[in-house]
Protein backbone atom coordinates (compact mmCIF):
# COMPACT_ATOMS: atom_id res chain seq x y z
CA UNK A 1 0.00 0.00 0.00
CA UNK A 2 1.30 3.41 -0.87
CA UNK A 3 2.34 5.45 2.15
CA UNK A 4 0.63 8.79 2.16
CA UNK A 5 -0.21 11.32 4.80
CA UNK A 6 -3.79 12.51 4.55
CA UNK A 7 -4.80 15.67 6.40
CA UNK A 8 -8.04 17.51 5.82
CA UNK A 9 -8.70 15.46 2.71
CA UNK A 10 -5.33 16.42 1.17
CA UNK A 11 -2.82 13.74 0.30
CA UNK A 12 0.74 14.65 1.20
CA UNK A 13 3.77 12.74 0.02
CA UNK A 14 6.62 14.77 1.50
CA UNK A 15 6.45 14.73 5.26
CA UNK A 16 8.80 17.67 5.79
CA UNK A 17 6.78 20.82 6.48
CA UNK A 18 8.63 24.11 6.25
CA UNK A 19 8.28 27.34 8.23
CA UNK A 20 9.18 30.64 6.61
CA UNK A 21 9.75 33.16 9.40
CA UNK A 22 13.51 33.43 9.62
CA UNK A 23 14.96 33.37 6.12
CA UNK A 24 17.44 36.00 4.96
CA UNK A 25 15.64 36.46 1.67
CA UNK A 26 12.28 35.58 0.16
CA UNK A 27 14.02 34.04 -2.84
CA UNK A 28 15.78 31.62 -0.52
CA UNK A 29 12.36 30.44 0.68
CA UNK A 30 11.47 29.60 -2.90
CA UNK A 31 14.75 27.74 -3.46
CA UNK A 32 14.37 25.84 -0.20
CA UNK A 33 10.87 24.71 -1.10
CA UNK A 34 11.98 23.60 -4.51
CA UNK A 35 15.09 21.81 -3.30
CA UNK A 36 13.33 19.98 -0.47
CA UNK A 37 10.24 19.25 -2.57
CA UNK A 38 8.22 20.17 0.51
CA UNK A 39 4.48 20.27 -0.04
CA UNK A 40 3.26 22.01 3.10
CA UNK A 41 4.51 25.46 4.05
CA UNK A 42 3.49 27.64 6.94
CA UNK A 43 3.40 31.44 6.74
CA UNK A 44 2.29 33.87 9.43
CA UNK A 45 -0.66 35.98 8.35
CA UNK A 46 1.06 38.91 10.08
CA UNK A 47 3.78 38.72 7.42
CA UNK A 48 1.48 38.40 4.39
CA UNK A 49 0.95 41.63 2.48
CA UNK A 50 -1.51 41.01 -0.31
CA UNK A 51 -1.41 44.65 -1.34
CA UNK A 52 2.28 44.74 -2.14
CA UNK A 53 3.50 42.96 -5.22
CA UNK A 54 7.18 43.03 -4.30
CA UNK A 55 6.67 42.27 -0.62
CA UNK A 56 4.06 39.54 -0.83
CA UNK A 57 5.75 36.42 0.51
CA UNK A 58 3.14 34.20 -1.14
CA UNK A 59 4.63 35.08 -4.52
CA UNK A 60 7.64 32.96 -3.54
CA UNK A 61 5.67 29.84 -2.71
CA UNK A 62 5.44 27.35 -5.58
CA UNK A 63 1.95 26.58 -6.83
CA UNK A 64 2.07 22.92 -5.77
CA UNK A 65 2.61 23.83 -2.11
CA UNK A 66 -0.21 23.74 0.38
CA UNK A 67 -0.37 26.91 2.43
CA UNK A 68 -0.90 26.52 6.17
CA UNK A 69 -1.36 30.03 7.52
CA UNK A 70 -0.40 30.42 11.16
CA UNK A 71 -1.77 32.69 13.83
CA UNK A 72 1.60 33.97 15.07
CA UNK A 73 1.10 36.91 17.40
CA UNK A 74 -2.16 35.62 18.89
CA UNK A 75 -2.10 35.86 22.67
CA UNK A 76 -5.39 34.11 23.31
CA UNK A 77 -8.11 32.08 21.59
CA UNK A 78 -10.05 35.16 20.57
CA UNK A 79 -7.11 36.64 18.67
CA UNK A 80 -6.25 33.30 17.06
CA UNK A 81 -9.82 32.91 15.84
CA UNK A 82 -9.83 36.42 14.45
CA UNK A 83 -6.52 35.89 12.62
CA UNK A 84 -7.73 32.58 11.19
CA UNK A 85 -10.88 34.22 9.84
CA UNK A 86 -8.86 37.09 8.37
CA UNK A 87 -6.56 34.56 6.69
CA UNK A 88 -9.49 32.78 5.11
CA UNK A 89 -11.05 36.07 3.99
CA UNK A 90 -7.70 37.08 2.45
CA UNK A 91 -7.77 33.97 0.30
CA UNK A 92 -5.17 31.97 2.22
CA UNK A 93 -7.26 28.81 2.28
CA UNK A 94 -8.66 26.97 5.26
CA UNK A 95 -5.60 25.25 6.67
CA UNK A 96 -4.68 26.96 9.89
CA UNK A 97 -1.87 26.32 12.30
CA UNK A 98 -3.06 27.67 15.62
CA UNK A 99 -0.31 29.36 17.56
CA UNK A 100 -1.42 30.95 20.80
CA UNK A 101 1.63 32.26 22.57
CA UNK A 102 1.17 34.39 25.66
CA UNK A 103 4.84 34.05 26.53
CA UNK A 104 7.26 36.13 24.56
CA UNK A 105 10.35 34.99 26.41
CA UNK A 106 10.27 31.30 25.54
CA UNK A 107 7.47 31.35 22.96
CA UNK A 108 5.66 28.53 24.69
CA UNK A 109 2.07 27.87 23.60
CA UNK A 110 -1.04 28.07 25.76
CA UNK A 111 -2.68 24.65 25.38
CA UNK A 112 -5.94 25.71 27.00
CA UNK A 113 -6.53 28.71 24.75
CA UNK A 114 -5.41 26.62 21.76
CA UNK A 115 -8.11 24.10 22.57
CA UNK A 116 -10.74 26.84 22.75
CA UNK A 117 -9.69 28.19 19.34
CA UNK A 118 -9.65 24.68 17.86
CA UNK A 119 -13.20 24.00 19.01
CA UNK A 120 -14.49 27.13 17.26
CA UNK A 121 -12.43 26.94 14.07
CA UNK A 122 -13.04 23.24 13.44
CA UNK A 123 -16.77 23.88 13.53
CA UNK A 124 -16.29 26.66 11.00
CA UNK A 125 -14.72 24.22 8.57
CA UNK A 126 -11.05 25.04 9.04
CA UNK A 127 -8.47 22.28 8.84
CA UNK A 128 -6.95 22.94 12.23
CA UNK A 129 -3.40 22.01 13.17
CA UNK A 130 -2.73 23.21 16.71
CA UNK A 131 0.80 23.87 17.97
CA UNK A 132 1.02 22.60 21.54
CA UNK A 133 3.14 21.67 24.48
CA UNK A 134 3.24 17.85 24.32
CA UNK A 135 0.41 16.59 26.51
CA UNK A 136 -1.71 13.52 25.87
CA UNK A 137 -4.78 14.76 27.72
CA UNK A 138 -5.03 18.03 25.80
CA UNK A 139 -4.17 16.21 22.55
CA UNK A 140 -7.12 13.84 23.07
CA UNK A 141 -9.41 16.82 23.65
CA UNK A 142 -8.06 18.47 20.52
CA UNK A 143 -8.75 15.30 18.57
CA UNK A 144 -12.32 15.21 19.88
CA UNK A 145 -12.71 18.90 18.99
CA UNK A 146 -11.90 18.22 15.37
CA UNK A 147 -8.17 18.95 15.08
CA UNK A 148 -6.80 17.46 11.87
CA UNK A 149 -3.44 16.79 13.51
CA UNK A 150 -1.57 17.90 16.60
CA UNK A 151 1.78 19.64 16.52
CA UNK A 152 3.74 19.17 19.74
CA UNK A 153 7.03 20.99 20.12
CA UNK A 154 10.27 19.01 20.11
CA UNK A 155 12.05 21.77 22.06
CA UNK A 156 11.23 25.45 22.49
CA UNK A 157 10.98 27.32 19.15
CA UNK A 158 14.24 28.38 17.61
CA UNK A 159 16.48 26.57 20.07
CA UNK A 160 17.64 23.78 17.72
CA UNK A 161 17.92 21.65 20.84
CA UNK A 162 16.41 18.61 19.22
CA UNK A 163 13.77 16.06 20.10
CA UNK A 164 13.71 16.58 23.87
CA UNK A 165 10.05 15.73 24.30
CA UNK A 166 10.41 12.28 22.78
CA UNK A 167 8.90 10.23 25.62
CA UNK A 168 5.66 12.20 25.69
CA UNK A 169 5.43 12.42 21.90
CA UNK A 170 5.91 8.63 21.74
CA UNK A 171 2.85 8.19 23.95
CA UNK A 172 0.86 10.63 21.82
CA UNK A 173 1.79 8.76 18.63
CA UNK A 174 0.65 5.50 20.22
CA UNK A 175 -2.61 6.83 21.58
CA UNK A 176 -3.98 9.31 19.05
CA UNK A 177 -5.82 8.58 15.84
CA UNK A 178 -4.70 11.78 14.13
CA UNK A 179 -1.18 12.56 12.86
CA UNK A 180 1.36 13.87 15.35
CA UNK A 181 3.65 16.44 13.71
CA UNK A 182 6.70 17.55 15.63
CA UNK A 183 6.97 21.31 15.28
CA UNK A 184 9.76 23.46 16.72
CA UNK A 185 13.14 22.83 18.22
CA UNK A 186 14.39 20.26 15.72
CA UNK A 187 17.96 21.28 14.96
CA UNK A 188 19.42 18.47 12.83
CA UNK A 189 18.23 16.14 10.09
CA UNK A 190 19.10 13.17 12.36
CA UNK A 191 16.64 14.50 14.95
CA UNK A 192 13.94 14.80 12.31
CA UNK A 193 14.64 11.20 11.34
CA UNK A 194 14.30 10.26 15.00
CA UNK A 195 10.80 11.79 15.09
CA UNK A 196 9.81 9.89 11.98
CA UNK A 197 11.24 6.55 13.19
CA UNK A 198 8.95 6.92 16.17
CA UNK A 199 5.89 7.12 13.94
CA UNK A 200 5.28 10.86 13.76
CA UNK A 201 3.24 11.93 10.78
CA UNK A 202 5.55 14.76 9.75
CA UNK A 203 8.11 17.24 11.03
CA UNK A 204 7.98 21.03 10.69
CA UNK A 205 11.30 22.88 10.51
CA UNK A 206 12.21 26.54 10.12
CA UNK A 207 15.16 27.82 12.18
CA UNK A 208 17.47 24.88 11.49
CA UNK A 209 17.07 25.38 7.74
CA UNK A 210 16.76 29.17 7.60
CA UNK A 211 19.84 29.84 9.72
CA UNK A 212 22.05 27.13 8.20
CA UNK A 213 25.05 28.24 6.17
CA UNK A 214 23.43 26.73 3.09
CA UNK A 215 19.66 26.69 3.62
CA UNK A 216 18.93 24.92 0.32
CA UNK A 217 21.36 22.10 1.15
CA UNK A 218 20.02 21.78 4.66
CA UNK A 219 16.44 21.62 3.38
CA UNK A 220 17.39 18.76 1.10
CA UNK A 221 19.13 17.00 3.99
CA UNK A 222 16.04 17.36 6.18
CA UNK A 223 13.78 16.10 3.42
CA UNK A 224 15.89 12.99 2.96
CA UNK A 225 16.17 12.41 6.70
CA UNK A 226 12.41 12.66 7.10
CA UNK A 227 11.90 10.22 4.26
CA UNK A 228 14.51 7.80 5.67
CA UNK A 229 12.93 7.98 9.13
CA UNK A 230 9.51 7.22 7.65
CA UNK A 231 10.80 4.23 5.69
CA UNK A 232 12.51 2.97 8.85
CA UNK A 233 9.27 3.26 10.79
CA UNK A 234 7.30 1.41 8.13
CA UNK A 235 9.98 -1.27 7.87
CA UNK A 236 9.79 -1.98 11.58
CA UNK A 237 12.92 -1.05 13.43
CA UNK A 238 14.98 -3.98 14.65
CA UNK A 239 14.81 -4.39 18.39
CA UNK A 240 17.75 -2.72 20.00
CA UNK A 241 19.45 -4.75 22.74
CA UNK A 242 22.39 -3.84 24.88
CA UNK A 243 23.79 -7.38 25.26
CA UNK A 244 25.21 -9.80 22.71
CA UNK A 245 23.07 -12.81 21.78
CA UNK A 246 24.95 -16.09 22.39
CA UNK A 247 25.27 -18.35 19.35
CA UNK A 248 25.24 -21.41 21.63
CA UNK A 249 22.24 -20.82 23.85
CA UNK A 250 22.33 -22.21 27.37
CA UNK A 251 18.77 -23.54 27.12
CA UNK A 252 19.20 -25.37 23.79
CA UNK A 253 19.28 -28.74 25.54
CA UNK A 254 15.70 -28.28 26.78
CA UNK A 255 14.24 -28.27 23.30
CA UNK A 256 16.26 -31.34 22.31
CA UNK A 257 14.72 -33.41 25.13
CA UNK A 258 11.10 -32.78 24.19
CA UNK A 259 9.30 -35.38 22.15
Amino acid sequence: MEDKLIIGGETITNRLFIGTGKFENKKVIKNVLEKSKAEVVTVALRRIDMESKSENILANIPKHCLLMTNTSGARNAKEAIRIARLAKAAGCGNWIKIEVIPDNKYLLPDNYETLKATEVLSKEGFVVLPYINPDLIIARQLEKSGAAAVMPLGSPIGTNRGFRTKEIVRIMVNELNIPVIVDAGIGKPSEAADCMELGCGAVLVNTAIATAYNPEGMAEAFSKAVEAGRIAYLSGLAVSVDRARASSPLTGFLRGNES
Binding site: N25, D49, L86, P102, A210
Partner: protein, 378 residues
Protein backbone atom coordinates in the same frame (compact mmCIF):
# COMPACT_ATOMS: atom_id res chain seq x y z
CA UNK B 1 22.58 43.12 45.06
CA UNK B 2 19.11 41.92 46.00
CA UNK B 3 17.21 42.39 42.80
CA UNK B 4 14.38 39.91 42.46
CA UNK B 5 11.05 41.64 41.96
CA UNK B 6 8.23 40.59 44.23
CA UNK B 7 4.73 39.91 43.00
CA UNK B 8 2.71 43.08 42.30
CA UNK B 9 5.75 45.30 42.75
CA UNK B 10 5.97 48.27 40.39
CA UNK B 11 9.19 48.89 38.51
CA UNK B 12 9.82 51.97 40.60
CA UNK B 13 9.51 49.97 43.84
CA UNK B 14 11.92 47.41 42.47
CA UNK B 15 14.37 50.04 41.33
CA UNK B 16 14.51 51.62 44.76
CA UNK B 17 16.44 48.56 45.89
CA UNK B 18 19.29 49.45 43.55
CA UNK B 19 19.73 52.84 45.12
CA UNK B 20 21.44 51.17 48.06
CA UNK B 21 24.01 49.57 45.78
CA UNK B 22 27.20 51.44 45.00
CA UNK B 23 27.50 50.78 41.30
CA UNK B 24 31.07 52.07 40.91
CA UNK B 25 32.26 49.72 43.66
CA UNK B 26 30.54 46.83 41.93
CA UNK B 27 32.64 47.36 38.79
CA UNK B 28 35.89 47.29 40.76
CA UNK B 29 35.19 43.71 41.76
CA UNK B 30 34.52 42.40 38.22
CA UNK B 31 37.15 39.87 37.08
CA UNK B 32 38.06 38.26 33.75
CA UNK B 33 36.93 34.94 35.21
CA UNK B 34 33.47 36.36 35.85
CA UNK B 35 33.13 37.68 32.30
CA UNK B 36 34.10 34.28 30.91
CA UNK B 37 31.56 32.63 33.14
CA UNK B 38 28.83 35.04 31.94
CA UNK B 39 29.68 34.35 28.31
CA UNK B 40 29.16 30.65 28.94
CA UNK B 41 26.09 30.91 31.14
CA UNK B 42 22.73 29.52 30.11
CA UNK B 43 20.74 32.22 31.91
CA UNK B 44 22.11 35.66 32.73
CA UNK B 45 21.29 37.22 36.09
CA UNK B 46 20.85 40.93 36.66
CA UNK B 47 24.30 41.05 38.30
CA UNK B 48 25.82 39.29 35.30
CA UNK B 49 24.16 41.79 32.96
CA UNK B 50 25.92 44.53 34.82
CA UNK B 51 29.18 42.66 34.45
CA UNK B 52 28.72 42.82 30.68
CA UNK B 53 28.43 46.61 30.86
CA UNK B 54 31.61 46.95 32.95
CA UNK B 55 34.85 48.51 31.64
CA UNK B 56 36.61 45.15 31.92
CA UNK B 57 34.06 43.60 29.51
CA UNK B 58 35.48 45.87 26.80
CA UNK B 59 38.32 43.36 26.50
CA UNK B 60 35.75 40.76 25.42
CA UNK B 61 33.81 42.68 22.78
CA UNK B 62 34.51 40.17 19.99
CA UNK B 63 33.39 37.24 22.15
CA UNK B 64 30.29 39.20 23.15
CA UNK B 65 29.61 40.07 19.51
CA UNK B 66 29.77 36.43 18.38
CA UNK B 67 27.42 35.34 21.15
CA UNK B 68 25.04 38.26 20.60
CA UNK B 69 24.94 37.59 16.86
CA UNK B 70 24.17 33.90 17.29
CA UNK B 71 21.45 34.60 19.83
CA UNK B 72 19.86 37.16 17.52
CA UNK B 73 19.82 34.86 14.52
CA UNK B 74 18.47 32.01 16.65
CA UNK B 75 15.65 34.11 18.06
CA UNK B 76 14.74 36.41 15.20
CA UNK B 77 16.26 34.78 12.15
CA UNK B 78 17.91 36.84 9.47
CA UNK B 79 15.20 39.45 9.45
CA UNK B 80 14.92 43.14 10.32
CA UNK B 81 11.61 44.89 10.71
CA UNK B 82 11.25 48.34 9.17
CA UNK B 83 9.06 51.24 10.28
CA UNK B 84 8.99 54.97 9.95
CA UNK B 85 7.80 57.84 12.13
CA UNK B 86 5.10 60.29 11.09
CA UNK B 87 5.39 63.63 12.88
CA UNK B 88 1.89 65.06 13.11
CA UNK B 89 2.52 68.06 15.36
CA UNK B 90 5.39 69.88 17.04
CA UNK B 91 3.32 71.91 19.51
CA UNK B 92 4.73 71.23 22.94
CA UNK B 93 4.33 72.64 26.44
CA UNK B 94 7.33 70.88 27.96
CA UNK B 95 10.69 72.46 28.49
CA UNK B 96 13.08 69.58 27.93
CA UNK B 97 16.50 71.11 27.37
CA UNK B 98 17.67 68.45 24.88
CA UNK B 99 14.65 68.59 22.53
CA UNK B 100 14.17 70.72 19.43
CA UNK B 101 10.42 70.94 20.05
CA UNK B 102 10.67 72.39 23.56
CA UNK B 103 8.34 75.26 24.43
CA UNK B 104 11.09 77.87 24.22
CA UNK B 105 12.37 76.72 20.85
CA UNK B 106 11.93 79.47 18.29
CA UNK B 107 10.66 77.12 15.65
CA UNK B 108 7.58 77.44 13.53
CA UNK B 109 4.83 75.30 15.00
CA UNK B 110 2.61 73.14 12.88
CA UNK B 111 -0.04 70.54 13.30
CA UNK B 112 -1.03 68.47 10.29
CA UNK B 113 -4.62 68.74 9.18
CA UNK B 114 -6.38 65.41 8.72
CA UNK B 115 -6.09 65.87 4.98
CA UNK B 116 -2.34 66.33 5.35
CA UNK B 117 -2.12 63.24 7.56
CA UNK B 118 -3.83 61.32 4.77
CA UNK B 119 -1.35 62.68 2.22
CA UNK B 120 1.65 61.75 4.35
CA UNK B 121 0.22 58.30 5.11
CA UNK B 122 -0.52 57.66 1.47
CA UNK B 123 3.07 58.50 0.53
CA UNK B 124 4.63 56.43 3.32
CA UNK B 125 2.49 53.40 2.55
CA UNK B 126 3.49 53.64 -1.12
CA UNK B 127 7.02 52.69 0.02
CA UNK B 128 5.60 49.36 1.20
CA UNK B 129 5.87 50.08 4.92
CA UNK B 130 3.00 48.79 7.04
CA UNK B 131 4.32 49.87 10.44
CA UNK B 132 3.91 53.49 11.42
CA UNK B 133 4.90 55.41 14.55
CA UNK B 134 2.88 58.55 15.33
CA UNK B 135 4.82 61.37 16.97
CA UNK B 136 3.63 64.56 18.56
CA UNK B 137 4.91 67.04 21.07
CA UNK B 138 3.12 67.19 24.41
CA UNK B 139 0.20 69.55 24.35
CA UNK B 140 -3.15 68.24 25.44
CA UNK B 141 -4.69 71.46 24.15
CA UNK B 142 -3.20 71.45 20.66
CA UNK B 143 -2.67 67.70 20.24
CA UNK B 144 -5.71 66.44 22.07
CA UNK B 145 -6.55 62.80 22.31
CA UNK B 146 -9.50 63.49 19.99
CA UNK B 147 -7.12 64.79 17.33
CA UNK B 148 -4.80 61.81 17.77
CA UNK B 149 -7.74 59.42 17.51
CA UNK B 150 -8.85 61.09 14.29
CA UNK B 151 -5.34 60.65 12.90
CA UNK B 152 -5.36 56.97 13.91
CA UNK B 153 -8.60 56.46 11.98
CA UNK B 154 -6.88 57.73 8.84
CA UNK B 155 -3.67 55.78 9.42
CA UNK B 156 -5.61 52.54 9.85
CA UNK B 157 -6.53 52.71 6.18
CA UNK B 158 -2.86 52.46 5.24
CA UNK B 159 -1.04 50.55 7.99
CA UNK B 160 -1.49 47.26 9.82
CA UNK B 161 0.50 48.30 12.87
CA UNK B 162 0.14 51.68 14.53
CA UNK B 163 2.40 52.77 17.37
CA UNK B 164 2.34 56.00 19.31
CA UNK B 165 5.16 58.11 20.67
CA UNK B 166 3.17 60.83 22.36
CA UNK B 167 2.80 62.21 25.88
CA UNK B 168 2.24 59.80 28.78
CA UNK B 169 -1.41 58.85 29.14
CA UNK B 170 -3.73 57.47 31.79
CA UNK B 171 -4.46 53.75 31.69
CA UNK B 172 -8.02 54.38 30.49
CA UNK B 173 -6.71 56.53 27.64
CA UNK B 174 -4.32 53.80 26.52
CA UNK B 175 -7.28 51.44 26.61
CA UNK B 176 -9.24 53.75 24.30
CA UNK B 177 -6.40 53.98 21.81
CA UNK B 178 -5.90 50.20 21.83
CA UNK B 179 -9.59 49.83 20.97
CA UNK B 180 -9.06 52.29 18.12
CA UNK B 181 -6.29 50.15 16.68
CA UNK B 182 -3.04 51.17 18.36
CA UNK B 183 -0.86 48.14 19.07
CA UNK B 184 2.46 49.73 20.04
CA UNK B 185 3.70 52.29 22.53
CA UNK B 186 7.09 53.97 22.38
CA UNK B 187 7.95 55.98 25.44
CA UNK B 188 11.48 56.83 26.53
CA UNK B 189 12.24 57.66 30.11
CA UNK B 190 15.07 59.75 28.58
CA UNK B 191 17.15 59.50 31.75
CA UNK B 192 16.58 57.10 34.65
CA UNK B 193 18.57 59.14 37.16
CA UNK B 194 15.90 61.12 39.00
CA UNK B 195 18.13 64.07 39.89
CA UNK B 196 19.31 64.53 36.30
CA UNK B 197 15.74 63.99 35.06
CA UNK B 198 14.63 66.89 37.19
CA UNK B 199 17.44 69.09 35.87
CA UNK B 200 16.81 68.48 32.17
CA UNK B 201 13.03 68.68 32.32
CA UNK B 202 12.60 72.25 33.40
CA UNK B 203 8.84 72.58 33.11
CA UNK B 204 5.71 70.92 31.84
CA UNK B 205 3.80 67.72 32.59
CA UNK B 206 6.81 65.63 31.58
CA UNK B 207 8.58 66.82 34.72
CA UNK B 208 6.63 64.14 36.63
CA UNK B 209 9.27 61.38 36.63
CA UNK B 210 7.12 58.65 38.11
CA UNK B 211 4.12 59.27 35.86
CA UNK B 212 6.34 58.78 32.82
CA UNK B 213 8.24 55.83 34.31
CA UNK B 214 5.05 53.90 34.93
CA UNK B 215 3.41 54.69 31.58
CA UNK B 216 4.56 51.38 30.01
CA UNK B 217 3.02 49.45 32.90
CA UNK B 218 -0.26 51.35 32.55
CA UNK B 219 -0.41 50.61 28.83
CA UNK B 220 0.58 46.95 29.19
CA UNK B 221 -1.99 46.43 31.93
CA UNK B 222 -4.61 47.48 29.36
CA UNK B 223 -3.34 45.04 26.76
CA UNK B 224 -0.83 47.02 24.68
CA UNK B 225 0.88 44.50 22.43
CA UNK B 226 4.32 46.11 21.96
CA UNK B 227 6.18 48.53 24.15
CA UNK B 228 9.46 50.20 23.24
CA UNK B 229 11.32 51.96 26.04
CA UNK B 230 14.53 53.94 25.86
CA UNK B 231 17.12 56.15 27.41
CA UNK B 232 18.70 59.14 25.72
CA UNK B 233 22.43 58.50 25.87
CA UNK B 234 24.50 61.50 26.79
CA UNK B 235 22.53 62.84 29.75
CA UNK B 236 24.16 60.55 32.33
CA UNK B 237 26.88 57.91 32.70
CA UNK B 238 25.89 55.45 29.97
CA UNK B 239 26.65 52.34 32.04
CA UNK B 240 24.15 53.33 34.71
CA UNK B 241 21.50 54.28 32.17
CA UNK B 242 21.95 51.14 30.08
CA UNK B 243 21.70 49.07 33.23
CA UNK B 244 18.47 50.74 34.31
CA UNK B 245 16.99 50.38 30.84
CA UNK B 246 17.94 46.70 30.78
CA UNK B 247 16.32 45.92 34.10
CA UNK B 248 13.28 47.98 33.14
CA UNK B 249 12.92 45.82 30.03
CA UNK B 250 13.39 42.68 32.09
CA UNK B 251 10.77 43.85 34.58
CA UNK B 252 8.25 44.44 31.79
CA UNK B 253 9.06 41.09 30.11
CA UNK B 254 8.66 39.25 33.41
CA UNK B 255 5.42 40.95 34.39
CA UNK B 256 3.75 41.21 30.98
CA UNK B 257 4.95 38.05 29.32
CA UNK B 258 2.49 38.23 26.43
CA UNK B 259 3.83 41.60 25.22
CA UNK B 260 6.74 42.28 22.91
CA UNK B 261 9.19 44.50 24.75
CA UNK B 262 11.91 46.38 22.93
CA UNK B 263 14.46 49.06 23.71
CA UNK B 264 16.13 52.00 21.99
CA UNK B 265 19.34 53.74 22.93
CA UNK B 266 19.41 56.94 20.89
CA UNK B 267 22.41 59.20 21.34
CA UNK B 268 21.70 62.88 21.70
CA UNK B 269 22.10 64.75 18.47
CA UNK B 270 22.29 68.45 17.88
CA UNK B 271 18.82 69.96 18.19
CA UNK B 272 17.18 73.21 17.19
CA UNK B 273 18.01 74.45 20.69
CA UNK B 274 21.69 73.67 20.20
CA UNK B 275 21.89 71.27 23.16
CA UNK B 276 25.06 69.20 23.39
CA UNK B 277 25.44 65.90 25.27
CA UNK B 278 26.87 66.16 28.76
CA UNK B 279 28.45 62.70 28.73
CA UNK B 280 30.35 61.33 25.78
CA UNK B 281 29.15 57.98 24.47
CA UNK B 282 31.41 56.37 21.87
CA UNK B 283 30.53 53.96 19.08
CA UNK B 284 32.22 51.22 21.09
CA UNK B 285 30.02 52.02 24.06
CA UNK B 286 26.86 51.80 21.94
CA UNK B 287 27.96 48.44 20.53
CA UNK B 288 28.74 47.12 24.01
CA UNK B 289 25.27 48.12 25.25
CA UNK B 290 23.52 46.39 22.34
CA UNK B 291 25.51 43.19 22.83
CA UNK B 292 24.96 43.20 26.59
CA UNK B 293 21.20 43.62 26.05
CA UNK B 294 21.06 40.75 23.58
CA UNK B 295 23.01 38.37 25.85
CA UNK B 296 20.95 39.37 28.90
CA UNK B 297 17.52 39.21 27.22
CA UNK B 298 17.70 37.06 24.06
CA UNK B 299 14.08 37.76 23.05
CA UNK B 300 14.25 41.53 23.54
CA UNK B 301 13.55 43.72 20.53
CA UNK B 302 16.30 46.27 19.89
CA UNK B 303 15.42 49.29 17.77
CA UNK B 304 17.98 51.44 16.01
CA UNK B 305 16.97 54.93 14.90
CA UNK B 306 18.26 57.11 12.10
CA UNK B 307 20.18 59.22 14.60
CA UNK B 308 23.18 57.03 13.82
CA UNK B 309 25.21 57.19 10.61
CA UNK B 310 24.43 54.75 7.79
CA UNK B 311 27.77 52.99 8.14
CA UNK B 312 27.50 52.58 11.90
CA UNK B 313 23.92 51.31 11.62
CA UNK B 314 24.98 48.69 9.13
CA UNK B 315 27.74 47.47 11.40
CA UNK B 316 25.44 47.27 14.42
CA UNK B 317 22.77 45.19 12.70
CA UNK B 318 24.37 41.74 13.22
CA UNK B 319 25.02 42.47 16.90
CA UNK B 320 21.42 42.29 18.04
CA UNK B 321 19.25 44.79 16.17
CA UNK B 322 15.73 43.64 15.29
CA UNK B 323 14.06 46.82 14.04
CA UNK B 324 15.22 49.93 12.22
CA UNK B 325 13.56 53.04 10.91
CA UNK B 326 13.83 53.85 7.23
CA UNK B 327 12.88 56.79 5.06
CA UNK B 328 12.71 58.91 8.21
CA UNK B 329 12.15 62.58 8.77
CA UNK B 330 11.68 64.36 12.10
CA UNK B 331 9.89 67.30 10.50
CA UNK B 332 6.13 67.68 10.82
CA UNK B 333 4.82 66.77 7.38
CA UNK B 334 8.38 66.04 6.29
CA UNK B 335 7.42 63.35 3.78
CA UNK B 336 5.19 65.35 1.47
CA UNK B 337 4.36 68.75 2.93
CA UNK B 338 7.21 70.57 4.68
CA UNK B 339 10.64 70.73 3.20
CA UNK B 340 13.52 69.60 5.37
CA UNK B 341 15.62 72.60 6.26
CA UNK B 342 12.60 74.89 6.03
CA UNK B 343 11.23 76.88 8.93
CA UNK B 344 9.64 73.70 10.24
CA UNK B 345 12.65 72.51 12.16
CA UNK B 346 13.57 68.95 12.90
CA UNK B 347 13.17 67.51 16.39
CA UNK B 348 16.72 66.28 16.05
CA UNK B 349 19.20 65.77 13.25
CA UNK B 350 19.00 62.42 11.53
CA UNK B 351 22.16 60.97 10.03
CA UNK B 352 20.73 58.17 7.93
CA UNK B 353 18.47 59.73 5.34
CA UNK B 354 18.19 56.71 3.07
CA UNK B 355 14.85 55.78 1.56
CA UNK B 356 12.99 52.57 2.36
CA UNK B 357 14.11 50.98 -0.90
CA UNK B 358 17.77 51.90 -0.25
CA UNK B 359 17.59 50.39 3.23
CA UNK B 360 16.00 47.24 1.79
CA UNK B 361 18.87 46.89 -0.69
CA UNK B 362 21.43 47.41 2.09
CA UNK B 363 19.79 44.73 4.24
CA UNK B 364 19.66 42.28 1.37
CA UNK B 365 23.36 42.83 0.72
CA UNK B 366 24.07 42.11 4.36
CA UNK B 367 22.04 38.89 4.21
CA UNK B 368 18.91 40.13 5.95
CA UNK B 369 15.29 40.08 4.86
CA UNK B 370 13.53 43.37 5.47
CA UNK B 371 10.13 42.83 7.04
CA UNK B 372 7.72 45.61 6.09
CA UNK B 373 4.63 43.98 7.51
CA UNK B 374 4.66 42.04 10.75
CA UNK B 375 1.27 42.50 12.26
CA UNK B 376 -2.34 42.24 11.37
CA UNK B 377 -4.68 44.36 13.44
CA UNK B 378 -6.96 42.17 15.55
Amino acid sequence: MKVEAEVNMSFHDWVLQFKRVNIENFFIGVTDKEINSVLNAEVISVEQFYTLLSPIAEKYLEEMAQLAHNLTVQNFGKTIQLYTPIYISNYCVNNCIYCGFNINSKIRRKQLTLKEVDKEANFISSTGLRHILILTGESRKENSLFYIKDCIKILKKYFTSISIEIYALKGSEYEELIKDGVDGLTIYQEVYDEVIYDKVHLAGPKKDYLYRLEAPERALAKGMRCVNIGTLLGLNDWRKEAFMLGIHAKFLQDNFSDAEISVSIPRIRKTAGGFKPVYNVTDTNVAQIIMAFRIFLPRLGITLSTRESPEFRENLIPLGITRISAGSTTVVGGHTISEVGSAFSEQFKILDERSVSDVKVMLEQKGYQSILKDWVGV
